[in-house]
């Protein structure tokens, strides 16, 4: 396993390099620059600003400089937020997103897994239809609808929480539910499907025939196979949740990382785009690695190769 992890870590280097290169040239290919504004700045001002940030150099030189600095852990200053560096912006906002993502994931798993398992135990009964209908509701109600409804209900009508902001623990509740409900629905659906696939397989019947208790069959045999799709899904899903959601952060004014992914691109904040993309890529790679390790650990017949 150690070897497996080491190899994957090594493989991450070219992957990150490709991502950095692709992003660098994509963001520079987009029309407009970090300093294009509605009120056009004079050509002299533009030239001076570009010189300050090294944008006056040939693109390949800029690319080289960027890589050299990035390897040394320096992602540079943000173009948009002039008195902050990219590392500072990510360092301030990621903990917020990670915390929100953690609560959301907790909610999602706490609701999604039991609902999916219940449904799979008694398929085509009300124990199946009820949780699955709620899950479908979670999929049909997009976050940009659920968020405002929660804020209006619990923030304004019932006054349990503030309608927006990120200051006390109470401010965590509504955004976490908004973000988690949707994921819970996904998890419930995938769990049900995965469990049903497994429950009909030979080894479950064999286990039952051998007189294993229903609890043991369920938690020892069935869950291990049945959760495979869920685990595969969780890699990217967790990556997405802990790096923030544009919609949820906007609705509740959460100072997270999610908005930067979109806004830095629209602002042509070159350094920030590269910083956020590389950060996200690292997390995706890490979580996919964890998923792959888990898959092997859950399935004794698989080996690390």
């Amino acid at each position: 396993m150690f070897r497996f992890v080491a190899i994957r870590t090594l493989q991450a280097i070219p992957v990150l390099l490709i991502i950095a290169t692709m992003t660098f040239f994509m963001v520079h290919a987009a029309p407009g620059g970090p300093f294009s504004k509605e009120r056009k700045v004079t050509p002299e001002v533009l030239r001076n600003l570009e010189a300050q940030y090294g944008l006056d150099k040939p693109l390949l030189t800029q690319y080289g400089n960027f890589l050299w600095k990035a390897v040394h852990g320096d992602l540079g200053p943000s173009f948009k937020y002039a008195n902050r560096t990219v590392s500072e912006l990510i360092g301030d906002s990621f903990p917020v997103s990670a915390e929100l993502g953690f609560w959301a994931m907790l909610i999602a798993l706490a609701i999604g897994l039991p609902a999916g398992i219940l449904a799979a135990l008694k398929p085509n009964s009300w124990l199946d239809y009820l949780p699955m209908s709620v899950a479908m509701l979670g999929i049909c109600i997009p976050t940009f609808v659920l968020g405002p409804i929660l804020a209006l209900t619990f923030g304004i009508r019932l006054e349990w929480f503030d309608a927006s902001g990120w200051f006390s623990w109470r401010d965590r509740v509504l955004p976490a539910i908004t973000l988690g409900f949707f994921t819970a629905a996904y998890i419930a659906r995938l769990t049900r499907g995965g469990m049903l696939d497994v429950m009909n397989q030979d080894f479950i019947r064999t286990a039952r025939a051998k007189g294993a208790s229903e609890v043991r069959v369920l938690f020892y045999h069935a869950l291990r196979g049945g959760l495979l799709p869920v685990i595969s899904y969780l890699g990217p899903a967790i990556a997405a949740e802990i790096t923030g959601s544009f919609v949820v952060e906007t609705i509740f004014n959460v100072p997270g990382l999610g908005r930067y992914f979109i806004l830095s691109a629209f602002n042509r904040d070159y350094t920030m785009v590269l910083g956020t993309v590389l950060f996200y890529a690292s997390i995706i790679i890490l979580l996919n690695l964890v998923v792959d390790v888990l898959q092997v650990l859950l399935n004794p017949r698989l080996r690390f190769d």
Partner: protein
């Protein structure tokens, strides 16, 4: 789900109900909670350009002159008085002795001299550098034509006396000086963090920043809150009633409206269009709709046929039902614009108008060779991706279809692509807005001269350019107004732009906030803002 909610309600019931509103608690402590609309990019008054930054500068900086909170006429700021030479070229400011920086240093004439040298330094690359081009030789220095700053029209006579020499007499010069680019910065601090000639420096962080306004920057949590507290060193601290102002960067107008209703804000930045009628009917006491120095319009690319034909442009302009747009779509008390410069800008209201006249528009289109819209090529309206721009563009699309029987398409682009398209004149018709920097018609009419940096229409009228040149040598107010009338008449006769409406600021404000007066620049000097003495009313 239901059981979860029940559990939550039990858990939070005791804590949640009957809690005092944040606005009420803040009011007791003299803290004003306002939404500033967006996270500031930086808080360097010499390089920042956005409205949200300026609204914070208004709290933490003060220039030589300051603004009256009612009508924004110049009142003493760091300068307690000033003299203007008879020819209107030389301004001598007498600085007060007790003006101090937040760290206790005195604010001197040298501070202004050094600050203005900094903003004019070419390497700094300040966007608002042109606000200083009224001063003698400022432009030459900023563009590197002269290297010796002592030739620029700024002079320190003694620590308390500062002199500015202008290129030409500029009647509205003192109003221009209310702009943030005229605020002083604390040069030793700027220097310490290496920000003398570059933007990305850390002197504007809350822990480093030294300012000279009524408030100082205490705390800056990105995308979350900016706290400014009353400055004990401010010379007029006795006038300042508030202890603290908290600026929130809530971007979504729906989110801020909910925050306002939940008692988290004293003032919002704006109000969603769909909510305006409700407040107009039910809570007019919370709603403000104030004229704002800005125009919403469409640019027309005068190089692209058939838009190179004046008759086509006029036909397009005359067939937009602007009244319907402001009454049914924007609904915030905006005025339908039949010319470009907002009415009443420094005593000027344009006489030239483009009427809404469908019959005339059809006739013009026929004269241009497209009777009943036949043979008219398919044009595109370009707009940046914002819901309200889309709605207006859709309405205009349908108006042209019904009134002129022509088909236009809609094309929206993300902000920077939209700017690039305008800049390279790679569009046919595009939505635009212009907000004045200072209250003078010049700020609206000088952009349409040939090669005006913000023209983007390709429109080039030699008579118009000549009038503008003449304006530069005119300082008698009545003569200037006459020239503006002629310029605007030319602009409306050739219609390189299609005016739609004049902006208003629409926002919510708690009634206990006092000293917040409507004005066309939406400047609200915070030192005059205070809370009413009566107990806040029950929440609505």
């Amino acid at each position: 789900m239901a059981s979860v909610l029940t559990a939550l309600s039990l858990m939070l019931g005791g804590l949640g109900c009957h809690k005092e509103k944040k606005t009420a608690i803040a009011r007791e402590q003299g803290i004003l909670l306002i939404n500033n609309g967006v996270e500031p990019e930086d808080l360097d008054p010499q390089t920042a350009t956005g409205v949200s930054e300026h609204s914070i500068f208004l709290a933490i900086y003060e220039g030589l002159v300051s603004e009256d909170p009612h009508d924004l006429h110049p009142v003493p700021g760091v300068a307690e008085s000033w003299d203007i030479s008879p020819d209107g070229l030389v301004y001598t400011f007498h600085l007060r002795h007790d003006a101090k920086w937040s760290n206790g240093d005195p604010v001197t004439a040298q501070d202004f001299y050094d600050s203005y040298q900094r903003i004019l330094t070419p390497e700094l690359g300040s966007d608002y550098i042109y606000m200083h081009f009224f001063t003698k030789n400022a432009e030459a220095y900023a563009t590197g034509k002269i290297k010796d700053f002592s030739q620029v029209g700024y002079r320190v006579i003694d620590p308390q006396t500062f002199e500015i020499t202008l290129t030409t007499a500029t009647p509205f010069f003192l109003s221009v000086m209310n702009h943030a680019s005229w605020y002083p910065v604390h040069i030793p601090t700027v220097k310490k963090f290496g920000g003398l000639a570059r933007k990305a420096a850390f002197w504007t962080k809350a822990e480093n920043c030294v300012t000279n306004g009524a408030f100082t920057l205490k705390d800056w949590k990105q995308q979350s809150i900016i706290r400014c507290v009353k400055s004990p060193n401010y010379w007029d601290a006795k006038t300042v009633k508030l202890n603290e102002i908290d600026f929130y960067p809530i971007e979504s107008s729906n989110t801020e409206e909910r925050a306002f209703r939940a008692g988290q804000l004293h003032k919002t930045n704006e109000l969603p269009l769909s909510k305006i009628p409700w407040y107009q009917q039910n809570r007019p006491d919370l709603l403000r709709q104030e004229p704002y120095l800005g125009t919403y319009f469409f640019r027309v690319n005068t190089h692209k046929p058939p838009l190179d034909n004046i008759k086509v442009r006029l036909a397009l302009a005359m067939s937009i039902d602007r009244k319907m747009i402001v009454e049914k779509i924007t609904r915030g008390g905006q005025l339908p614009a039949d010319s470009f410069t907002p009415p009443g800008t420094a005593g000027y209201t344009a006489e030239a108008k483009i009427p809404f006249d469908v019959a005339k528009a059809r006739q013009l289109l026929a004269e241009a060779g497209y009777p009943d819209g036949r043979g008219f090529p398919k044009l595109d309206i370009l707009f940046n991706t914002v819901e309200s721009h889309r709605t207006i563009a859709e309405a205009v699309q349908e108006m042209w279809k019904n009134n002129l029987h022509i088909d236009v398409g809609l094309s929206n682009q993300e902000w920077k692509v939209y700017l690039a398209a305008q800049d390279t004149e790679n569009y046919q018709i595009c939505r635009a807005g212009w907000i004045g920097d200072y209250a003078d018609p010049q700020n609206f009419l000088d952009m349409w001269v040939k090669d005006g940096g913000n023209n983007h229409t390709g429109w080039d009228n030699s008579e118009y350019n000549g009038l503008y040149a003449k304006l530069q040598n005119t300082s008698i107010p009545a003569d200037r107004l006459a020239i503006f009338q002629k310029m605007e008449a030319l602009l409306m006769a050739e219609a390189p732009i299609l005016p739609v409406y004049w902006y208003t600021r629409v926002y919510l404000i708690r009634p206990e906030v006092q000293g917040w007066y409507p004005n066309i620049l939406d400047h609200h000097p915070y030192k005059y803002v205070y809370f009413a003495d009566q107990k806040p009313e029950a929440r609505h």
